[in-house]
Symmetry: C2
Subunit: 242 residues, 2 copies
């Protein structure tokens, strides 16, 4: 596969693990089936048993789960370089849905070549394992967010997490970040209603913390927003070398 396809991935892995040139070459040599997908396109469905993992190359994606009562909870938002369903390598069945948020380019990597790579190159295995552990660390923070913080703080926290994560893969424009989610989607990520999201956005705007434009979020006062959102990025483990 071409370098451009795996670029965001290798960049992210290199940030925490010392990959040598052979490791990088092995990743670039993976057979990857690249596809363009429309916005809001389901990629893998809850209950399925996929035989490939999906590398997000361009665009945004999200994972979500429906309750029996018919409510949707968004579990995570994904940016280029993420492999959101890496867990399908070792967990037979999906326990949630995985979909694009906006128009996206994704690359499917078969389980078989991926397992071979992991068995041959232990350093890549450890780097990928670490990625799934960071994934879990983010879930933990989301439990805290949804369980213990009032709505407006939840939103502030989410925006700062996205800013921090986009910075790593070069998705920032000064203090502005793309976030192609409507209010219903934000609501499902935060465990509140869309109406309430609207009111909360208004409040953050009026406090001079954030500006919202279509699918663009502009952080007006990051320091105050961090205090307001109780945001401390250690849970993202951006420095987590061995």
């Amino acid at each position: 596969m071409s370098k451009a396809v795996t670029d965001a991935l290798t960049r992210k892995l290199s940030a925490t693990t010392n990959l040598d040139s052979e490791d990088i070459a092995a990743i670039e040599a993976l057979p990857i089936d690249v596809r363009s997908l429309p916005a809001r396109q389901l990629i893998v469905r809850d209950g399925e048993s996929p035989n490939a993992c999906c590398l997000l190359i361009e665009g945004f994606a999200f994972r979500s789960k429906m309750t029996i009562a018919g409510k949707r909870q968004i579990l995570s938002i994904h940016v280029p370089g993420d492999i959101p369903d890496l867990q399908s390598l070792y967990l037979g069945k999906m326990d949630h849905d995985f979909s694009t948020l906006n128009e996206a380019t994704v690359g499917f990597i078969g389980h078989v070549p991926l397992r071979q790579l992991i068995r041959r190159r232990i350093r890549i295995a450890e780097a990928l394992w670490r990625e799934t552990l960071i994934d879990a660390a983010i879930f933990r923070e989301w439990i805290v967010n949804v369980g213990q913080r009032p709505g407006r703080v939840r939103l502030a926290h989410l925006l700062l997490e996205m800013k921090q994560r986009l910075a790593v893969v070069g998705g920032l424009n000064g203090n502005a970040l793309e976030l192609p989610m409507n209010q219903q989607e934000l609501a499902d990520a935060l465990g509140i209603t869309a109406v309430h999201v609207s009111r909360i956005m208004k409040e953050l705007r009026e406090r001079g913390l954030v500006e919202f434009q279509r699918h663009l979020v502009i952080i007006r006062d990051e320091k105050r927003l961090r205090d307001f959102g109780e945001f401390d990025p250690i849970y993202l483990h951006e420095d987590s070398g061995t």
Copy 2:
């Protein structure tokens, strides 16, 4: 180390991965520092960089996180056979606390011998990786629980998860399970207040679903409780072979 120490662990790993006798022997040969700890004893603190992982041998433990606003969220409950801080192998710093719930026996396994084991025996590596992935799957379900379900449903769901997980390691007594948590701890796990937990427990009791006795939970009508708690155990991936 003696077989008894690693028994619950090897039993759990064997349930999903075909470990051969050499794998089992390698696990039993790990140097494990076994200790008895009192109830409510902090084992690893948020922000620390431990150099060992903690295998829970006997008793219950939990992971939790304090918000800047001073609220506590319990992130997971652990039973014998779990290695709740396995992530510390690849994530330098703890992003949460880890403590015992009742009197417990734990075994500390140094990161160095554990990494060696992982590098030598790929099948064990994959089994442990899978354990961390199941951990993450449980976090996902907790996000849904706290984000989308009313309090009484959350409690029912939690009780059923504990029953299901205890069954695997042989911690059940018919339809009764030990759960050494007080109402404040349940509240912090469910994202509600202790007062509300009290009222909810009353409701479940009055509906004939569950009986509570000290630290004992008796499931009176599992089928109805599963419906009530919207519980579907697929997220625990008990069958997740490759």
